[in-house]
């Protein structure tokens, strides 16, 4: 966590309530509120070094090496020159520091605005449309209309927090208290529409703003691989400890049996009184020598690899969405390989699977069906590019982007069909849309829900143009004629009522109620005289539902003036009541909304995003289980699921759990569970479970999970954001698998945070999901690429890297162990100290980095074509404890070969000029050169994708080793520092020996040929490898993909916007005065 955040948290803990005064500089300065500069970066130029170093040494691995460094400074223990640890540590620290610095520099900085309280604006009626696109979606607010120059106003409000939808405070002005809620707060990062100016009081500044409070990631996600690595490092520590222990015992025995008698030539050190003391010291000496078992560069290399692979995601053009100009973005650079292991995907529906763009598609007016497209012979045809659109040129105010294909409706409008006119009039009046008209005739609608926008736009194009509104008037241009309707009341939408109504007084002085709402509700409220019309309309509604359209019924009622006056009074009373206000209000509303006259029904198309069904089919093939968690009702969710191919054609089972209490749900789940076993047996994958939120409420977690995990897909409806997170947590807790949550709205945030990987769709509903996610992109279909291509590669690369990295360090380090048995357990190293210093940092780092940044076993086309290739990642087959043990065994074998072959060869051996070659320095050189050849050959064997860079890195490193060799062993350097560079003339004298090269060839063959055999035989016994090989063999010509047929969409009725509407606000021009408390409309309170 950054320092800034922690500071502000400290302050928060003290600050419970915030007081401030308008224009009261003196008072405000007492509290020491931060200024409005935002520091999203962690470091400044000055504090970078100390702060970064401090943070780095908090990591266990770095601290360990610091301790090692101190151990090395003790002369009795020191077995290696100090620089063997210092240089790698410095390099690691500086690489990490550079990475941190770059990460810090690219932090995103928003514009200079603070969270402020809206006091007044240019709009006379005080309605301000705020597009908080980046945060929590659009809203309309109405400022308190306070005098501009008030100086005595005081505000008491809550301390800064990260809840975007919550704000409470009290404004005291001239002795009067005004309640403040979040609707009055203009957040940093929002855009104000249709308003020229506004006055506000700044409440939160800089780091206290809601935006900044939301920026910090609350949880630090770690991958399964991180956890595995920690366990393995622990294992290595134990292994290291036991090796040191064995060697220390060996040393004790040796000193006792031999060293004691060898004291003529090698007296014991001053403080060493017995072999036991010596053994204790040697334990630590070996601890230093064998420290390379836990490679210092492991963590930094892992970070670099993840970092690089994250950049590939940012750079991917196929995940770039041109219409919005948004590339995919990896906001977290630490989770890459987990993308290759995903087993469960939890997806939101609206805005994620669908575009959240609503299009007015069909309607039924007075029993007549409009919107079908027929050709000249009267046959029904599909809408395509060539289909002729209806010409709206007669209407100057029409929206040019709107398209409709059925001419009969326009003809009906032109003819002056009364019911059609009334239908569109009701659409243009009954809504909470705001309009903006900056240029004469160019209307822009700001709608809270896209459904409403679509309906009002449709009415506009057919000639009933909603032009502007105040809190008391609605101006409509009816077929070119401007009319002003007096708005008497808005009976707002909520999820229980599922309808909204407006009551207006027409220019003809009639009081009319227009209502639209869910067919299931509205059909109960109709006047008995419309029964036959209702039946016809219901038939049409069924047709709409089959096509998967979202439907609404529209009705009206003409009111008696006296009746309305009476009702209005009741309404005012209900508004003012303090207890059960909501219930009382809906009772009052119900009184009004009855005996409605049916006008017709609308059908809106909720468009799926591009490529969603294909993506889900691919993910299904990759055995990724798709769970749709939605707040929508069951029918909608099921129909979207059909359209998205979650129910594939082969899937025959759809189980709906409908119980409303624990016992019934339990019974149903049990029944399903038994069903799976008795009837379906191996068909179990072909089922989809549909759950209601009730199923989660009881104490049924395990039963639910047991049944749900048998299914290929699960659809959970009616979920609150919290329940979404609960579902994710449930799967995370009981299944050891990687989960991914994808969503776009504020209501998905908890789920995104809960899952191992959170993906945010940067789309319609604001940026909150994105801010909390680990990866973002604009289109759902990018998920396929993210997982199957980037995820799979990242996982494979990470696994190859880890296997190789552990192997190379085991092979490197364990040679010391064998040498101990021949050097009196004296902590003598096999290699020259410079080789130890450079081995991990210089000689072997680039090839393995190249491998883990460029390697690809099969190219992206094959990855997508054979989703089965994703399978090994889900079971973590490429790197696990077993693979680690394999690496260890392989490393032990290599180190044995690396030690004993040179030992046998140089034992009592001489050169062709009679001078001996059995000296320590020759032996070192032979072993280290052989080691480097072996590990280079090993990585060459592991590399499947040889780019130019791989060649340069791999062979270049080996060549570089020889150059370094000649440099380090050169006369000049050695004469300058004879103590540090003792290997003078070594390269010259040893590299020309035939023995040396014979040894190297023998060692390389002994170490590599078995691996070649293993790699050759592995695919014969492991089919997935075989498939990969097959793909590699044909990597040039993947057959062209046959386009998936678009599954027939079967979706049913749907009602309305998800959120409670703004009705109250719009009419609040008068309602506000009486109202002290106004309820928060929270998207979380569905």
């Amino acid at each position: 966590m950054s320092l800034v955040e922690s500071q502000s948290e400290d302050r928060q803990s003290e600050e419970q309530v915030r007081y401030l005064q308008a224009n009261g500089r003196e008072l405000n300065s007492k509290f020491g509120y931060p200024n409005n500069t935002i520091k999203t970066s962690r470091y400044s130029v000055l504090n970078f070094l100390p702060l970064n170093l401090f943070e780095q040494f908090q990591r266990l691995a770095n601290a360990y090496f610091l301790i090692l460094l101190f151990l090395q400074l003790i002369p009795q223990i020191s077995s290696l020159a100090w620089y063997t640890t210092v240089i790698p540590l410095m390099v690691v620290l500086s690489v990490t520091a550079v990475k941190d610095a770059i990460d810090d520099m690219v932090k995103w900085l928003p514009g200079p605005l603070a969270d402020m309280l809206l006091l007044s604006s240019s709009e006379p009626c005080g309605l301000t449309y705020i597009e908080t696109a980046e945060l929590d979606g659009p809203k309309i607010t109405e400022p308190g209309l306070l005098p501009l120059h008030f100086s005595s106003g005081k505000v008491r409000c809550e301390s800064p927090n990260n809840k975007l939808d919550k704000f409470t405070g009290i404004l005291t002005y001239k002795g009067k208290n005004y309640t403040l809620d979040h609707d009055k707060l203009l957040l940093r990062g929002c855009i104000i529409r249709n308003t020229d100016w506004c006055y506000g009081l700044v409440i939160y500044t800089g780091p206290d703003t809601k935006l900044m409070q939301n920026c910090g990631k609350s949880t630090f996600k770690r991958t399964h691989m991180d956890r595995l690595l920690n366990i393995l490092v622990l294992w290595i520590f134990l292994f290291l400890g036991s090796m040191c222990f064995i060697l220390a015992i060996g040393h004790g025995i040796w000193e006792n049996k031999k060293g004691y008698y060898f004291q003529d030539f090698l007296p014991w050190k001053e403080h060493v009184s017995s072999s036991v003391v010596s053994a204790v010291l040697i334990f630590w000496s070996y601890f230093i020598i064998l420290n390379t078992m836990v490679p210092i560069s492991l963590y930094v290399s892992v970070e670099i690899i993840r970092w690089g692979n994250s950049y590939y995601i940012n750079w991917d053009r196929k995940m770039f969405y041109a219409p919005k100009n948004t590339p995919a973005q990896a906001r977290t650079t630490t989770l890459n390989e987990e993308l290759g292991q995903v087993k469960y995907v939890f997806s939101d529906k609206t805005g994620t699977l669908t575009q959240n763009i609503m299009v007015f598609n069909k309607c039924s007016i007075n029993g007549i069906f409009y919107g079908g497209v027929y050709d000249k012979k009267g046959r029904r045809v599909e809408v395509s590019e060539e289909t002729e659109k209806v010409d709206f040129s007669y209407n100057k105010l029409a929206d040019p982007k709107f398209s409709f294909y059925d001419k009969t409706l326009v003809e009906a409008v032109k003819k002056g069909d009364c019911s059609v006119h009334l239908f569109f009039l009701s659409l243009s009046l009954c809504h909470t849309v705001m309009s903006e008209e900056k240029v004469e005739g160019k209307l822009i609608y700001q709608a809270q829900s896209p459904d409403e926008g679509a309906l009002v736009t449709a009415a506009r194009n057919f000639g009933f143009v909603f032009r502007s509104r105040t809190s008391e008037m609605i101006t409509v241009v009816e077929m070119g004629e401007t009319k002003v309707y007096q708005l008497l009341a808005i009976l707002d939408f909520n999820n229980v009522r599922k309808r909204m109504s407006v009551i207006v007084r027409t220019p003809e002085d009639r009081v009319m109620l227009f209502c639209k709402g869910a067919d299931t509700i509205l059909s109960q409220l109709l006047h008995p005289s419309c029964r036959s019309l209702r039946d016809v309309t219901m038939e049409h509604l069924d047709d709409f539902a089959i096509e998967g359209l979202r439907t609404l019924m529209v009705a009206y009622r003409e009111l008696d003036n006296a009746f309305f006056q009476a009702w209005s009074k009741k309404h005012s009373v209900a508004c003012l009541s303090l207890e059960n206000r909501e219930d009382k209000m809906s009772d009052v509303y119900e009184e009004m909304e009855k005996d409605l006259m049916l006008l017709g029904a609308t059908a809106i198309e909720d468009k799926l995003q591009d490529g969603v069904p294909e993506t889900i089919t691919t993910l299904n093939k990759a055995k990724i289980k798709m769970w749709v968690l939605t707040g929508d009702k069951q029918e909608t969710a099921v129909n979207i699921a059909y359209a998205c191919n979650i129910f594939g054609d082969e899937m025959d089972g759809m189980f709906i759990v409908e119980g409303k209490n624990d016992e019934t749900v339990r019974q149903e789940l049990r029944y399903r569970w038994e069903n799976f076993h008795t009837f379906l047996g191996n068909l179990k994958c072909g089922c989809v479970l549909v759950l209601q939120a009730y199923a989660l409420e009881g104490n049924l977690e395990l039963e639910l999970l047991r049944t749900a995990c048998m299914c290929k897909g699960v659809i959970c409806c009616r979920m609150t954001p919290l329940q979404k997170a609960q579902v994710v947590e449930l799967v995370k807790r009981y299944k050891k698998v990687v989960t991914l949550a994808i969503g776009d709205g504020a209501n998905d945030v908890s789920m995104i945070k809960a899952a191992h990987i959170g993906v945010g769709i940067s789309g319609q509903e604001g940026m909150q999901a994105m801010l909390n996610s680990d990866y973002t992109f604009s289109q759902f279909h990018c998920l396929r690429r993210l997982l199957l291509v980037h995820g799979r590669w990242s996982y494979n690369r990470m696994c190859k890297f880890l296997s190789y990295f552990f192997y190379k360090n085991f092979a490197f380090t364990l040679v010391h162990f064998w040498y101990a048995f021949f050097s009196g357990f004296s902590a003598q190293t096999v290699y020259d100290t410079w080789f130890i210093t450079f081995y991990n940092l210089v000689y072997t780092s680039l090839p393995v980095l190249g491998l883990s940044l460029f390697d690809q076993d099969v190219n992206e086309t094959w990855s997508l074509r054979f989703p089965e290739l994703y399978d090994p990642g889900q079971h973590n087959l490429y790197f696990n404890k077993k693979e680690f043990v394999k690496c260890l065994v392989h490393g032990i074998y290599s180190s044995l070969v690396l030690f004993f072959i040179p030992m046998g060869t140089i034992h009592n051996s001489v050169r062709s000029d009679g001078k001996e070659i059995s000296d320590y320095q020759s032996f070192s050189l032979i072993v280290q050169t052989a080691l480097l050849c072996v590990v280079t050959m090993q990585i060459a064997l592991d590399t499947t994708y040889w780019t130019m860079i791989s060649h340069i890195f791999t062979w270049g490193s080996l060549g570089f080793y020889f150059c370094i060799l000649f440099f380090l062993y050169s006369d000049g350097l050695c004469l300058m520092f004879p103590d540090v560079f003792q290997f003078l003339g070594k390269a010259m004298n040893t590299l020309n020996l035939p023995q040396m090269w014979l040894i190297i060839v023998l060692i390389v063959v002994l170490c590599i040929l078995p691996m070649i055999g293993y790699q050759f035989l592995k695919p014969l016994f492991w089919p997935i490898m075989d498939r990969i090989h097959l793909c590699m063999r044909h990597s040039l010509s993947p057959p062209t993909r046959t386009k998936l047929k678009h599954a027939s969409s079967r979706r049913s009725a749907y009602a309305f916007s998800h959120k409670q509407g703004f009705g109250a606000l719009i009419t609040s021009g008068k309602a506000m005065k009486d109202k002290v408390f106004k309820r928060n409309s929270s998207p979380f309170k569905k």
Partner: protein, 353 residues
């Protein structure tokens, strides 16, 4: 869905092979046609090479004699008894008699071999000061701390050369006498004691300090020899080019061995009649027995050996190549069998399909 061309370019990632991970690449595949021949070829090549190595090593003659003098093993036991206790030992001589029935082909090299001597012990092998040995006058009088306890004498004089390695310099000496005919006179065989160390060692790495008034002894003035040494370093040899730090025996000894059993070159026999080897006849090696090894259970050996293109006798590499070559071929056959069976199985599967 309108957007301007400039806006489109704003965030669109670059279309390069690198960023799109489309770098042209070579994707080798380990197929049967590569793996199996590789095994067989490697096996055959190794067996061939192994045979060559084995025979060339076998052709080398070696003659060695353990003169440690454990009781009942020749006439060095008397000296060994005398050396029962601590260094410095008495000056003691013993001899090794041997006869050659035929010519021991040359060039012949004379080695001494020590066993159980841990020159590779870390404390031992760091106990030296390379700066001092490179002839730096300042380092001469200020030996490095690593040399302790052979850094300074009790008198405070700096030891040159300092350290445990120098102190334990091998100080037995050998002379070789040849009797052509039985009863004939023993003729001393000339031993070339130069050219036994690496050129880089005695010309670059080891250097005497600059002469003072033309005298090496004065250059070492103010230093003391290591405690075990009977004479100072500048008197190691009367030859001014082979004394002091660049004395070749010393240089050879200072190049520490990797393993506790090691040979070091003592002399080359390549002069006069002996340039083609040691002719047949009787020989005596006179040994000046100074070096104590029995205390730590070590052995001293004297070795005559000749050389092939590959160096000295060491059958290890040849045998290792033969074994590995055979293993390769064996593994190749095993893999071939597995592969053929797998192919058959696959064909059957395909037939079934």
């Amino acid at each position: 869905m309108t957007w301007s061309a400039t806006a489109r370019g704003a965030h669109q990632p670059d279309n390069t092979a690198f960023t799109q991970q489309r770098l042209p690449a070579w994707q080798p595949l380990l197929s049967a046609s590569i793996a199996l021949p590789l095994f067989f070829c490697a096996g055959l090549a190794f067996i061939g090479l192994g045979l060559g190595l084995f025979y060339s090593s076998n052709g080398i003659k070696e003659l060695e004699y353990d003169y440690t003098g454990n009781p009942g093993t020749g006439n060095c036991s008397a000296c060994a008894l005398a050396d029962q206790y601590r260094a410095p030992p008495l000056r003691c001589s013993c001899a090794w008699y041997f006869s050659l029935p035929e010519l021991f082909p040359g060039p012949v090299y004379l080695y001494y071999e020590l066993t159980n001597f841990y020159q590779n012990n870390r404390r031992y092998s760091v106990s030296r000061d390379d700066t001092q040995l490179s002839g730096l006058p300042s380092a001469l009088r200020h030996p490095a701390n690593e040399c302790a306890p052979y850094q300074r004498r009790a008198s405070g004089l700096p030891i040159a050369p300092c350290g445990a390695i120098a102190n334990s310099l091998f100080n037995d000496s050998f002379s070789l006498w040849h009797q052509r005919q039985p009863g004939g006179p023993y003729v001393e065989v000339p031993l070339d004691r130069t050219g036994i160390a690496w050129w880089t060692d005695c010309h670059v790495k080891f250097r005497n300090p600059p002469l003072v008034n033309g005298s090496l002894a004065l250059a070492f003035h103010g230093t003391a020899p290591p405690p075990n040494w009977p004479r100072p370093v500048y008197e190691l040899s009367p030859d001014p080019n082979n004394t002091g730090f660049i004395n070749q025996d010393f240089v050879v000894w200072m190049r520490t061995a990797a393993l506790p059993t090691f040979r070091k070159l003592y002399a080359r026999i390549r002069q006069g009649n002996y340039s083609t080897g040691l002719p047949r006849g009787s020989y005596i090696v006179n040994i000046t027995y100074n070096y104590p090894v029995r205390a730590f259970g070590g052995h001293k050996l004297i070795v005559f050996s000749n050389i092939s293109w590959m160096g000295g006798k060491n059958p290890f590499l040849g045998i290792a190549y033969l074994v590995v070559g055979s293993l390769c071929i064996l593994m190749g056959f095993v893999m071939l069998v597995v592969y053929i069976r797998y192919q058959d199985q696959n064909d059957e599967d395909e037939d079934e399909e």
